[in-house]
């Protein structure tokens, strides 16, 4: 039992080594990869699912996980559709957006109950993070959605040779006091995460406003040319 009241012995954290917070989380919790977690039959009190998956993959993973354990799940839904996941998986009692870098070290989350809220806050405190509760997280978390659209626009601007990356970043910082320029912000979040979210929003809503910039696609980690 740690000082924040979380019994880490009875908590399973599902996380891949490439997750930006893998080492930090590994220090505090028993961790397993997605594949290993599906093979595990130990009784846990709580599952912390940090798999970074879009809606369809998340849904399939949680479906498989449900065969393994009935423990409540707090899942990273940075790239997934919260309303859909909650509807299909009553086992999910909370969600958070850990993937999208925050300049203030704060994390957007939602919780079905006050006790889950408390658990999330305790867990985040262990990682020197603070949680901000979002009670209306339907299509996506708010911050990732807004910042992805801003970053996407910056990449459209680059694509059209409107200005160089440094001037774009400087303009947004010194013109409208952004804490970071959108180009550097995208680097910190990871352009693939930005691209994945935009593609997910596009697929769910079929709204053309979420069309990613070709230049963003080109520069994303996995060069997704879908």
């Amino acid at each position: 039992m740690n000082n924040d009241g979380l019994n880490t012995e009875k908590i399973l954290a599902i996380i891949e080594p490439h997750h930006p917070r893998f080492l930090q989380i590994n220090e505090h919790f028993k961790t397993k990869s997605k594949e290993d977690a599906l093979g595990s039959y130990k009784t846990y009190d709580l599952i912390l699912d940090f798999s970074i998956l879009k809606t369809k993959e998340k849904h399939l993973f949680l479906k498989e996980l449900n065969k393994t354990t009935k423990a409540p799940i707090i899942s990273d839904l940075s790239l997934a559709w919260p309303d859909f996941i909650l509807k299909k998986h009553p086992q999910v009692v909370g969600g958070l957006s850990l993937v999208f870098f925050s300049p203030t070290s704060k994390v957007e989350y939602f919780a079905k109950t006050p006790s889950v809220q408390s658990e999330i806050q305790s867990f985040l405190k262990m990682l020197n993070l603070e949680g901000i509760h979002n009670h209306h997280c339907h299509l996506s978390f708010h911050y990732p959605r807004i910042i992805s659209m801003i970053i996407n626009e910056a990449y459209f601007a680059l694509e059209e040779k409107l200005a160089n990356p440094e001037d774009i970043d400087q303009a947004m910082k010194f013109g409208v006091n952004y804490p970071l320029g959108p180009i550097e912000w995208g680097q910190k979040i990871g352009l693939q995460n930005v691209l994945d979210l935009l593609q997910e929003l596009s697929q769910i809503t079929e709204d053309p406003r979420y069309r990613p910039s070709t230049f963003l696609k080109l520069n994303a980690d996995k060069s997704n040319l879908k």
């Binding site: 901000i132 911050y143 626009e153 160089n164 013109g175 709204d207 053309p208």
Partner: protein, 287 residues
């Protein structure tokens, strides 16, 4: 590049701020306005600002004496031929601006750089009917309010603008402590374009009038995103109508690109005259 003499046309908020900033760089400033009295009032306001800064210990008497001596309110008929840079900061009417530049083109020497502080009109279009030699010296200089404090100046190159002049101007502003950013001539330039979905996406998250939703979105944007203000409180501060006008302008200029589509909620607020702080009711209520 050496800029020793600037003409500022338009004695409104931006013109006054731009004039004041150049004065603090020890640049001679001629200030004109189609209403002569307005230019004089701006001069008095600038002088009053300097006095206030001196009372706060931010300027010395020697400095404000120099700055005040450098400001001259004049008329179009009496403009100096030594003008290095002429900046237009009049109200946003395309034909009025074009007419102004035509008149100045006949009065001012060929070496004078012409600049528009417009946020709405294409720079290329503003300078299109000027003679070719002038078009090379024609660009946008988009200052941010208040021009005396905000470091950013967008330097917008029209299709005919000399790249050399734009770069040298950038260097000059940088030496003077501004943060100049070069950009091509496109709707919204850099800031007004890239900032659009700070508001647009937030409106789509909210979907309808719900102060609890506005408060939550503002809180998340501020606390998780690190922004100084959330989108709804910022729209209330700027003016919901002002923000909508910029959005509509960018949307039209991009031939209805979906990313820039205005939101019904914003239009409803403006129609209901709920414009923000200035009407004491916007997304939030004010005393």
């Amino acid at each position: 590049m050496d800029i020793k003499h600037v003409l500022v046309v338009g004695a409104g908020t931006m013109g006054q701020g731009i004039a004041q900033w150049f004065l603090t760089q020890k640049v001679r400033v001629e200030l004109i306005d189609h209403q002569y009295e307005k230019a004089n009032e701006a001069k008095e306001k600038i002088f009053s600002n300097f006095d206030l800064l001196k009372s706060k210990g931010k300027l010395t008497q020697e400095e404000i004496t120099i700055f005040k001596d450098l400001l001259h309110v004049t008329t179009q008929e009496q403009l100096s031929k030594e003008t290095d840079l002429a900046i237009e900061a009049i109200f946003e009417d395309l034909n009025v601006k074009k007419d102004l530049f035509h008149k100045l083109d006949k009065i001012l020497p060929e070496k004078t750089i012409f600049a528009s502080n417009t946020s709405s009109f294409p720079i290329t279009e503003l300078g299109a009917s000027l003679r070719a030699s002038r078009r090379k010296h024609f660009l946008g200089l988009h200052f941010f309010n208040p021009a005396t404090l905000m470091k950013l100046v967008e330097i917008i190159q029209g299709q005919d603008t000399s790249a050399d002049i734009a770069i040298k101007l950038k260097e000059w502003f940088k030496e003077k402590g501004k943060t100049p950013c070069l950009c091509a001539d496109a709707p919204g330039f850099i800031v007004n374009r890239i900032a659009r979905n700070f508001y647009g996406e937030s409106l789509r998250i909210a979907q309808h009038y719900d102060q609890e939703r506005f408060r939550e979105i503002d809180q998340i944007v501020r606390e998780v995103g690190g922004f100084k203000m959330g989108p709804f409180e910022l729209m209330d501060l700027i003016g919901i109508d002002v923000n909508l006008n910029v959005t509509q302008s960018v949307y039209e200029a991009f031939f209805h690109e979906p990313r820039f589509k205005p939101h019904r909620l914003q239009k409803e607020m403006v129609t209901a005259n709920k414009l923000g702080k200035k009407t004491k009711q916007g997304f939030y209520q004010y005393e």
